[in-house]
Symmetry: C2
Subunit: 456 residues, 2 copies
Amino acid sequence: MVNEQVGYFEANYVNFLSELLDFLRIQSVSTDPERKQDVRQAADFLANKLVSIGIEHVEIFPTKRHPIVYGDYLHAGLAQPTILVYGHYDVQPEDPINLWNTKPFEPEIIGDNLYARGASDMKGQVYACLAAIQSFLKVSDLPINVKFIFEGEEEIGSPNLVDFLIAHTGLLKSDCALNPDAGMTGKDKPTITYGLRGLSYFELRIFGPDRDLHSGSYGGIVHNPAQVLAELISKMHDSEGRVTLPGFYDLVLPLTAQERDSIGRYSISDYDYCKSIGVPSLWGEKSFTATERIGARPTLEINGILSGFVGQGSKTIIPSKAMAKISTRLVPDQKPELVYGQLLEFIRSNIPSTVRFELEQLSTGSPSISDITIPETKAMAEALKFVWGVEPIYKREGGSVPVVADMQEILGIDSVLTGFGLPDDRVHSPNEKLDLPTWRRGTIALIHFIENLKRS
Amino acid sequence: MVNEQVGYFEANYVNFLSELLDFLRIQSVSTDPERKQDVRQAADFLANKLVSIGIEHVEIFPTKRHPIVYGDYLHAGLAQPTILVYGHYDVQPEDPINLWNTKPFEPEIIGDNLYARGASDMKGQVYACLAAIQSFLKVSDLPINVKFIFEGEEEIGSPNLVDFLIAHTGLLKSDCALNPDAGMTGKDKPTITYGLRGLSYFELRIFGPDRDLHSGSYGGIVHNPAQVLAELISKMHDSEGRVTLPGFYDLVLPLTAQERDSIGRYSISDYDYCKSIGVPSLWGEKSFTATERIGARPTLEINGILSGFVGQGSKTIIPSKAMAKISTRLVPDQKPELVYGQLLEFIRSNIPSTVRFELEQLSTGSPSISDITIPETKAMAEALKFVWGVEPIYKREGGSVPVVADMQEILGIDSVLTGFGLPDDRVHSPNEKLDLPTWRRGTIALIHFIENLKRS
């Protein structure tokens, strides 16, 4: 049993928490070129932490943009499994900053909640893993072998991770990955995520006149780029809420009756969804439930639009250009790299001859389904059940964790995908928070997970 | 004859120009609350200039926002006409600032062109009037009576001008207005504008979820506000390029055969329009020529759109809201105040129940047609012909100068609407400029205009 390790964690809970706060103060926003140094600082912070808890082999690998932190501790011998702990230390941008009630990079604990950008996604999750492993190393020793890979580019689509995996298959050789970047379906619902959506992210630019024009002097003869963009976007879904890109659904795996049952176990009612996000009514593909649409169906989203004058008051212009950020969420067996061609074909067959356009692919990530019968998943299921007293939920998640599919393809290993964030953590939104009691339980579950992995 | 006055202007040309540069250095951007003091400074500049050239009665009338500068000089006696000189001293915002080749508020003369925000629209035009009148006052005396009204809110829709006109009908009593806020159709084509489009300007806001959402966790169940906005905008025109707001065309006066002929005199070919604004092809109502569509047909324009994440890189969110700036250009006898109701009805009958919306009217202005048989218009026509050696063009202009209609209704006077800006002056755009040789000719034409008004 692991009473000593859990005891160590409990006794040092406040220290772990204050270290996490230091981690959260680092503004590691990977999209922002001006904060490259902050991202680097977060990598150094992690590397130093690994060294301080006794991980002898720690390296920081530079990439074209943000570095990858590697570490390993291999003293349990060949008879014991090797687990590759994955995490990312970068965070989403904090904007819109004015909607935060606290400062995004000045963590505040209010009641059970820790408020900060990255608290839930995913610095808090990374820290739970480090706390669990430290609790073994300080009390006795680790019963298994561990390797660490922490990247700083997850929020920008991990542009350099695949190359790194390919270049270091030997170094990264493991039996399974532990990835705590997925959340729980509820406070009392420990969850193992076995299905993930992929992603293809684009920027579409429409070019009209060579300058902003006076809408009085030219209104009536120019096809307004903002209008053209709107006309294109309005055609990207049909009246049934289906995406209209040619071939978009060709590779989508149909939902089995058994899967629809298991999704039903953690389904949320339309009423509860409406309440939790504050909309009058939901929207989407008619023939699927909301939870099915999120977890097991592909979507196309407009992430942002900008054109012309958007300041205070009125400016009577015809904009010279318009831009939209467009992303698609993909499910097995869709191929992210095919969506660019589908969107391009859609635009070519729908765009008028009155404008020019550019389509840029900003990032891609593969969808995945993991084998839930492997011993590592069983070890996690037992640990979660021990701590929460209930069977974990097996979930298909709407979010994208492309590294899971990449590790399957390149390293040949499955991932145990879990995590201790909650649905109302507001990840990617203002006022992101982490539920501390859940985080504490999660860390204890990770201690049990490691123990459960030990082969007798 | 006016040889002496013209001689005085020519002799002092450089001084007039350097005063105009000082005027252009004032950042009188009326939309920007942070530059309220700059706008005030431009009003003071004009008032001081009026005093310095000998206008005894000069007053600055405060309004709810930016002041109105009034002045009069009434020494020609009752037998002579009284002309009300109208102008505005505010300018359009300079953004997008990065597209300027010079600094918008640091005027530069390059060859024949004076580059600065407001050089053509319309500080340069205001200064031409002042230079012409000064040339009379310094040489001998004015043969007519003049009054001045200069406002600082034209670029934000003159929200306080109508109230001022109503409150000061006695003070402003005149025979006719001189309004140099309309341009020429070409360098060798002096122009009198007799028809103007009106304006109704709106901001439409669409509200979806109560916060930006993670597009993975929620993609597939939320009607994206950016998508809803796009769907609405895409329905605001039909396949013929007609505006679909209910009742929008009900009050539009049909174009007479005679008008189509006179518009034909200054029509620009589609090819030349495409070249001058850099678009592959034009767009608009099928059954009218480009010049007819601009001058004599109403339009609806998207002036700007903003929603979600528009920074560098990718952020995977569903935006909580979307905003569009939408303006309509109106022709006689459309009523600007009716368009709000038409747009509201359009939105109500087209918006889905998945979102909420707000529609705000930011400004309105009436369209107008002026009587071109009045003596003041004849006096201007003769002056323009004398200086350029050709008959002026009588034009219906696409832009909006609502004050013309307001003065018709409230003061009962027509306006002689002309000006010395050129089609390629890039008003409301980066790199706005003024053609100095044309400005010089225009000022001389104004001297002749004043002389021609004298009743023998």
